[in-house]
Each structure stands twice: as structure tokens, then as C-alpha cells.
Amino acid sequence: MSAATAPAREAPAAPARRPEKERGRRAAGWARRAPLLPALVFLVATTQLPFLATIVYSLRSWNLLRPDSQAWVGLANYARVFTDRQFLGAAANTVLITASCVVVAMLLGIGLALLLDRPFRGRGVVRTMIITPFLVLPVATALLWKHIMFEPVFGLVNFVLGPLGAGDTDWVSQSPVLSVVVALVWQWTPFMTLLVLAGLQSQGRDVIEAGQVDGASRWQMFAWITLPHLRRYIELGVLLGSVYVVNTFDTIYMMTQGGPGTASSNLPFYIYQRTFLGFDIGQSAAMGVVVVVGTIIVAMLALRLIFRTFMNAQEART
């Protein structure tokens, strides 16, 4: 549709002597690009423009509780971000929660995928069971873990661990970050499992058979053939998992409210508190900008680090 109108609008602007061929090429270029535009414009409008606005807000003093207080304050909001101990604590928690959740979920996912990647009775049912936690509403997952699993007196965790001396441990109060990570790992393991399973099943049988002929042991075949093949699936899982887990809000909101105190607050939750409970728009906007920059840096570094370690460990073992 716009593919047809765009070149028509383009043509009159072009010099009249322009060769016919050139015009044809331009039109074809627009026809190819046009289908891309609606999505591009939509995303720019809904993500880039608000982010620009966030940058502008971050340079202003603006508290909704004091409507007359608006003023340009330069980088003062940023200075306060970096001296805000609670912000730094929330940043540390974000890294801790994201990294531990993604790594543990991925390791469990690899294990489960290996178990699922062999024919056995009831495989479909088992796979169905394993994907279920990913489908349960995350808010429900948080409630389930807080009020049914980790409940100190009637909870299943303490009932099962009772013989081991867990007693009436109040997991969510005493180990809030661990509790949140457990719930998140449970929620994200199916995602990792399915990805790794897809990787395993796309592996060529001929390579494996060649390995068997060469007398490679199971472990050798896993380390030399399967793991390198799985690499891009693992990368994809870690990348996508991180993108989503970094933004975790519901689990913390429902399980701990960032508490006790700010012990289990992560950045999304802390900024939410500053915005919607503290009404400090300028300050939370500055935090938002810092988080974006931090996310980009950490994502790049962490991803590289994880894979260097991963691959080195694998080579060292060979």
C-alpha cells in the first residue's frame, strides 16, 4: 500500500533528467523498505521517544508532590543516583538475581533436556509437566512460592525439609534473595530446557555415529560434539533469559516487596518505588537512564565472560 504511494511522492522531487533506470531502482528500494516502516515507526514511537523524554526528565527536578518545584538541575539527579546506597544495593541484587537465575536455570535445563532427549514411555507427558511452570502466571508463581511452598508453618518446603532440621524457617524473610531466585529458576528452567532440547534434536545423527565408531566415551562425545553444537542455543537462552529476568518485577513485588527493608530490592522494583510511591520523577528518570547504560555494558561483558569461561572449561577438560 504505502509501497505504491511512497515512490510516487518521491518521483517529482527527483531531477527531471534523472535516467529512467535510476528512478526504477529507487522505487524498487522503497518498495522493499516500505513494509518495514510501520513496525519501525511504531517501535521508535513507543520505545525511543519515551526514552528521550526520560533523558530530559532526568535533567530536571520534578516531584509530583510539589508541582511548583520543576527546574533544570543539570546532572544533579545523576550525582544523587551514584551516592544512593539503596540504588547501589538494588543494582547489586539485580546482577546477583539475574546471573544466578540464568546460570542455574540453564544448567538444570541442560540436564532436563538430556533426560528428555531419549525415547521412553510417557515422554510427552513428562515434557508437558516440565514446561508447565513456564506457562503459569508469574504473579501466581510468586504467590505459590511465598504462601504455599515457603510458608514457615504450613509450607511444603519446611514439611519436606523438616526431618533435616529446617524447623519453622521463614525463608522469604530470612533469605529473601534466595527465595526469589528459587521461584525464578523454577519459572525459567522450562524455557532453557525447551531451547536446549531443540538444539539436541537438531543434532545430526551421523556425527554421533561417527563418534561412536571412533570409540569416544559418552562424556567425550558430550564435551566435544554435543556441547559445541549446543553453544548457540545456550547463548540464545542466556541472552533471552537475561533480557527478561533483568526486568523481573512481579516476583519481587509479590514475594518480598523488596524487603525486608531493601534487602531484596532490584532495580525495576526500586525505581518503581521511587516513581509511584515517592513521586520523584526527575530522580527515577535518572535511575532509568543509568540502568539502560548499565544494562548494555553488563549484558555485553557478562555474555562474553560466561562464554569464555564455559568454553575454556570445556577445552581444559579435553
Binding site: 513494509p35 513496525a39 521517544l49 519515551p50 528428555l116 513428562v126 504455599i148 514439611f159 531451547l195 554435543t226
Partner: protein, 283 residues
């Protein structure tokens, strides 16, 4: 560990003691893994005084009273909002995403990689970094507590991933049939609709499924931008606690009802789920 028998071709390890043990272990692990959900469902059928006991109650007379209580607490309007937000945003994602993914799948678009990277990089943008202007804008436009605000935001949230997925599915369509259609003079619309759509159907279903899951489960925007009118199911679940106190059985019933649509959809479309999740990586 010992879980490496995938290396064995499709031979069923029948009769081998090792195979049986491995199967039993797999079943045990899966049951353990899913047991919180099973317990949640079980609790939803209990009386309130059976829900929190030490030791936990396993056998009881099941009742549907908790579910009727949840329905009585106005579950359906919230479910309606969730349905609108989920379906409309998923349709919008496909309307915007299909042409974009198509354009990116035919090589000649300049800087395809850059555009793709831009799409995925918007996913790296933490929502907290944009929520303030969005809140302010929605407030100026009188769009707070409006389900269509959620539709727009969920579309933006799912569009980047959807474009990536759809592009990888477009790449699987044999170029020859597209070329043949183009030679015969079919326009973009025709090519998309009558040539690619039939081939793409499973991929589109996979993409729609993933978008549906994330939209239904979204909480951050829903809790911050909606109130009584446009609140969705996850918000319903939070309101349940504060207004009703803590009734574990009733909460379980509400959690089951809130999760059920997506669980059922996900179960029935497992194949699509795998295809969707492994976007691009699985060809």
C-alpha cells in the same frame, strides 16, 4: 552424568535395566519439578481449614466452592480485559511484524543486520526506563486505566521478538516459489497472503503463541497504568490478597483460574512453543 543416551539412535532401550532406571529417574524429577503446580491445584479444591495444616492434607472431599467464590469476586471483567489486551496486541504484532519480517528476510534491504539489531536492542531497554514518560503521556491523553493503552504497550513489548521469529520462518520459505509468484506479477500483498501464509502458518502460530503468553502474563504496566476499569488478571490476583486477607485455598483457586488459559494453550501447542522459543536458532 549418565543422561547422555540421546547419542543412541531411535532404538528403544527396552529391557535394559539402565534404561528403566533412567526412565524412572526422569519421571521422578519431572514429578518433583511440577509438584508445586499439582499442590496448587489440589489446594484450590480444598476447604479453607484444610488448606493450611501441618502436616499438609492430602486426602479430602474436593469442593468447587473456592472457584465460585473467585467468580463471585468479579473475575470475569478482569479476564475480559486480559483477553482484549492479549488478543488485540498479538494481532497488532502480526500486522506490523509480518511485513517487517518479510522485508528483512529478502536480502536486498540495506543494513538488514542493523535494523535487526535495533529491533532486538529495544528489548534490552528496561521498562523502568520508559515507564515515567509513558505514564505522563497516558495521563495527558486521558488513557490511564484504558485497556487500549496496554494493547499498544504489549505490542511494543512483543514486536521485536516477533520480528526476529517471523524473519527466521520467512527464511525457511523456499525462494523459488516466491520468485515464481513475483514473475507472474503478484504484488506484495498477494505474495504474503496466498504464497507465504500457507507455508508460514505454523511459524506464525508459534510467534502468536509466544506473544500471547507474554501479554497475558504481563504485570508491570498493568499494575501501574490501570485501576478499576482496565485491570487485567495478574492485577486481579494481587487485589485478591489485600481485599480478602489471606485465604490460601481461595487464592489457589484464583491462581489456577488466572493461569489456566495460558497453560491449556501452551500444552496443546507444545510443538509451536518449541519452535517459537528457539526462534532463528532452529532452522
Amino acid at each position: 552424568m549418565t543422561a547422555l543416551s540421546p547419542q543412541r539412535p531411535a532404538r528403544r532401550p527396552r529391557g535394559s535395566a539402565r534404561g528403566t532406571a533412567l526412565t524412572a529417574a526422569t519421571w521422578a524429577i519431572a514429578l518433583l519439578f511440577v509438584s508445586p503446580v499439582l499442590w496448587l491445584v489440589l489446594t484450590a479444591f480444598k476447604e479453607e481449614n484444610q488448606a493450611a495444616t501441618d502436616p499438609p492434607t492430602l486426602f479430602f472431599q474436593p469442593t468447587l466452592d473456592r472457584f465460585t467464590a473467585v467468580l463471585g469476586a468479579d473475575f470475569l471483567p478482569y479476564a475480559g480485559n486480559s483477553l482484549i489486551a492479549t488478543v488485540a496486541s498479538t494481532v497488532l504484532v502480526l500486522v506490523l511484524g509480518l511485513p517487517a519480517a518479510y522485508a528483512l528476510s529478502i536480502a536486498p534491504v540495506k543494513r538488514t543486520q542493523d535494523v535487526l539489531f535495533f529491533f532486538i536492542s529495544t528489548k534490552m531497554l528496561p521498562v523502568v526506563a520508559v515507564v515515567v514518560p509513558i505514564y505522563v503521556a497516558a495521563s495527558w491523553l486521558s488513557m490511564l486505566d484504558n485497556v487500549w493503552t496496554l494493547v499498544v504497550l504489549y505490542t511494543a513489548m512483543n514486536l521485536p521478538i516477533a520480528v526476529w521469529m517471523l524473519r527466521s520462518f520467512f527464511l525457511e520459505v523456499p525462494g523459488a516459489i516466491v520468485e515464481a509468484a513475483r514473475v507472474e506479477g503478484a504484488g506484495l500483498g498477494r505474495i504474503l497472503w496466498s504464497v507465504m501464509l500457507p507455508v508460514m502458518a505454523p511459524g506464525i502460530a508459534a510467534t502468536a503463541l509466544i506473544c500471547t503468553i507474554f501479554a497475558w502474563n504481563e504485570f508491570f504496566f498493568a499494575v501501574n497504568l490501570t485501576a478499576a476499569q482496565a485491570a487485567t488478571v495478574p492485577v486481579f490476583l494481587t487485589g485478591f490478597i489485600t481485599s480478602e486477607g489471606l485465604f490460601i485455598a481461595q487464592l489457589s483457586a484464583a491462581a489456577v483460574m488466572a493461569s489456566l488459559p495460558i497453560v491449556v494453550v501452551g500444552w496443546t501447542a507444545q510443538r509451536q512453543l518449541v519452535r517459537g522459543l528457539s526462534m532463528g536458532a532452529v532452522k
